[in-house]
C-alpha cells in the first residue's frame, strides 16, 4: 500500500497547488495569445500587409 500512496501523490495534480490553480492556467492563456500574435504577424508578412 505505501507504494500505491506514493504513486497517487506523484501522478496526480493536487487541488491546493498555487502553481496548478493560478500560474499554469494564466501561462497557457498568455502563450496562446502570444502564439496567435506571432501567427498573425507571419500571415501579415505572407500577405504583404507587413513589410519586412
Amino acid at each position: 500500500m505505501p507504494n500505491s500512496t506514493r504513486v497517487t501523490e506523484t501522478s496526480r495534480i493536487t487541488g491546493k497547488s498555487m502553481l496548478f490553480e493560478k500560474i499554469i492556467p494564466a501561462l497557457l492563456i498568455l502563450m496562446g495569445v502570444l502564439m496567435t500574435a506571432l501567427i498573425l504577424f507571419a500571415a501579415g508578412v505572407l500577405l504583404g500587409i507587413i513589410h519586412f
Binding site: 504513486v7 501522478s11 495534480i13 497557457l28 507571419a42 519586412f52
Partner: protein
C-alpha cells in the same frame, strides 16, 4: 570574442546534446514523432551553429544552412513530430509528404538564390537575422542606422532599398512564413494543447510543466527572431540559448517515467 559571439556556440552544443538524446529514443522506439523532433532539432542546432559562424566570418554555404534550416524549416519539422504524437490518423502521412516536398522545394529555391547573394552587404557587426533580406524603403521612411541603401528597379518601378544578402523578391522568402506558421501551430499549439489536456484531467503534473516549458521555449525563440527582424537584435542570442534550455528541460521533464496507472487514464492522442 564578445559574449554575443559565444552564446550561439553554447546553444549549438546544447542543441547537439538534445538532438542526440531524442534520436537515441527514436532508435529504441522507432516512433515517428522522435524522428521528426530529432531532425527538427538537428536543423535548429545547424542554424545556431551557422548563426554563430556568421557572427565571425562570411561563408555562402553557411548562410545557406542558416536560412534553410535555421530560419525556414526547423520549427515545422519539430512541430510535425508533435502532430505525430497527438494525431494518429492516416492524413498525417499526407501532411508528412507535403512537408518533405515543401522542404525540398524550399531547398531548390534557396539553391537558385545562391548565385544572386550580395555578399558585399554582409557585416559581422550585427546578427545575420538583421541583414539577410533586401527591403524596399517606403517614401519618407528612413533607413536603420548603419544600413547600406541603393536605388534599383523592381517590378518596373525605381525604388530605394536597404541592401541585404538575399535579392529583393527572392521566392525562397515566400516559403518561410508557411513553415513558420505550421511550426508555431503544431509545436507551440501542440504543447499548449497537451499541457491543457493533462491539467484538465488533473494527472501527470510533470507533463503539464514539461509542455509549458516546451511551448515557452519555442515562443521565446519565435519572439526573439521576430524582434530581430524588426531591428531589435540584441536579445536574439540570449533568447536562442534560453529557448534551447527551456525546450530541453521541458522534454526531459515531460519524458520522466510515470506510474502506469496514471498513464492509462489519459487519452493523449486526439483520435
Amino acid at each position: 570574442m564578445s559574449i554575443n559571439q559565444v552564446l550561439p556556440f553554447i546553444s549549438t552544443a546544447l542543441m547537439l546534446g538534445f538532438t542526440i538524446y531524442v534520436l537515441q529514443r527514436w532508435f529504441v522506439r522507432r516512433a515517428p514523432n522522435f524522428l521528426f523532433w530529432g531532425v527538427g532539432l538537428a536543423m535548429f542546432g545547424a542554424g545556431s551553429f551557422a548563426e554563430a559562424y556568421l557572427s565571425l566570418a562570411w561563408n555562402r554555404w553557411v548562410f545557406f544552412v542558416w536560412y534553410l534550416f535555421g530560419a525556414a524549416l526547423n520549427a515545422a519539422w519539430i512541430g510535425h513530430g508533435t502532430l505525430y504524437l497527438l494525431v494518429r490518423k492516416p492524413w498525417v502521412h499526407v501532411v508528412t509528404a507535403v512537408l518533405v516536398i515543401g522542404s525540398l522545394f524550399a531547398g531548390y529555391l534557396m539553391l537558385n538564390a545562391m548565385p544572386k547573394l550580395d555578399a558585399t552587404a554582409f557585416t559581422t557587426s550585427k546578427p545575420v537575422s538583421e541583414q539577410y533580406g533586401t527591403k524596399v524603403l517606403e517614401p519618407g521612411q528612413t533607413p536603420p542606422a548603419g544600413a547600406q541603401t541603393t536605388t534599383t528597379t523592381y517590378q518596373g518601378q525605381q525604388v530605394t532599398v536597404v541592401r541585404g544578402l538575399l535579392p529583393l523578391g527572392s521566392p525562397v522568402r515566400l516559403t518561410t512564413p508557411f513553415f513558420n506558421i505550421y511550426g508555431l501551430l503544431t509545436l507551440v499549439g501542440g504543447a499548449i494543447y497537451s499541457a491543457f489536456l493533462f491539467w484538465r484531467k488533473r494527472v501527470l503534473p510533470n507533463r503539464v510543466i514539461g509542455n509549458v516549458l516546451i511551448a515557452g521555449g519555442a515562443l521565446l525563440i519565435g519572439s526573439a527572431s521576430t524582434l530581430t527582424r524588426l531591428g531589435y537584435g540584441q536579445f536574439l542570442y540570449l533568447g536562442e540559448l534560453l529557448s534551447a534550455i527551456l525546450m530541453f528541460a521541458g522534454f526531459r521533464f515531460a519524458a520522466r517515467p510515470q506510474p502506469s496507472d496514471a498513464l492509462q487514464g489519459v487519452a493523449v492522442a486526439a483520435d
